[in-house]
Symmetry: C2
Subunit: 199 residues, 2 copies
Amino acid sequence: MKIIMIGAEGDIGRAACAELSERHELIKVGRSSGDIHADISDRASIEEMYRKVGKVDAVISTAGSVHFGSLTDFTEEQFMLGLQNKVMGQINVVLVGMNYVSDGGSFTLTSGVLDRDPVKQATGAATANGALAGFVKGASIEMPRGLRVNVVSPGLLEVSKPRYGSFFPGHEMVSSERVGLAYVKSIEGALTGQVIIVA
Amino acid sequence: MKIIMIGAEGDIGRAACAELSERHELIKVGRSSGDIHADISDRASIEEMYRKVGKVDAVISTAGSVHFGSLTDFTEEQFMLGLQNKVMGQINVVLVGMNYVSDGGSFTLTSGVLDRDPVKQATGAATANGALAGFVKGASIEMPRGLRVNVVSPGLLEVSKPRYGSFFPGHEMVSSERVGLAYVKSIEGALTGQVIIVA
């Protein structure tokens, strides 16, 4: 399969690439790295990405920003960052991409653990993750041409511990290999409308 | 208890009022009806509402708009309506209200069935509902002064069938009485961080 991989240089993106690259052609996309540059916060940038790549069989997004901060300090703008970037950005990857993915192809988005096992300062992430779960559930029953859509919800990756571990006291971490398998399951399998949890 | 009831004139708001009004003092709020007017899409309007009412023991929101339409026709603006109005509007009711609700008081928001039992044309609602589920899960562990926050997720109300029934083929409907009890459970009980499902 020909697969667009948005966020290929992040920890989760690398995990997905490692499991998929032997069997598939990956087009790596990043804001400032990869084969093609695109920014999911800008719908025009997403459209340009698809025009450059042309027809594909699957699209993965591991991209999306949220704000972290104490609930009592959270502003409307900080909440909207997650809703506009991580949620709307990934939804736009699907809305625009429906015209470019071949029959029976798939979209695999990425959320995370924080709506099912919350930590402090992460209400923005919890809200965004929940939105993506709702999106794939709703969208899956209306996708044209047998297209599928899932979201992978990984726990904190072992490789991400140095940067984010202090936010996740007591959380069991997950291996990059197990996270990669979740993307394989979504892309090579037949699921749709699912939150694929890696816990 | 003194309770702010936003969306008091809607089908869900009426159901909540019917169960709560005998034992509690309800301040009914609507965009153009009720004791006080407020529009949750405007943070300044929410702030003015709280300033007028002063200290309360609980806040209910049954307000929030989303767009309904086929997934393949959905625009970014139509998705953002739900994220800004139903999601951010209700989140702002909590963020602003944390300064006005007494110790141990509660917020009860409202989502709906569409992220757990989707129907066509409702991906915007499914996304918004999921976001609210994530929000209460994340926010509940950071609320100050013992404040609690839950979201009620009702199925289609029997009284709403004339207007919305055609969107929900085969859905079992729920009575207004059962929906009202969910708000009682949230307000008079001790739950927090929960999606209270009425199915």
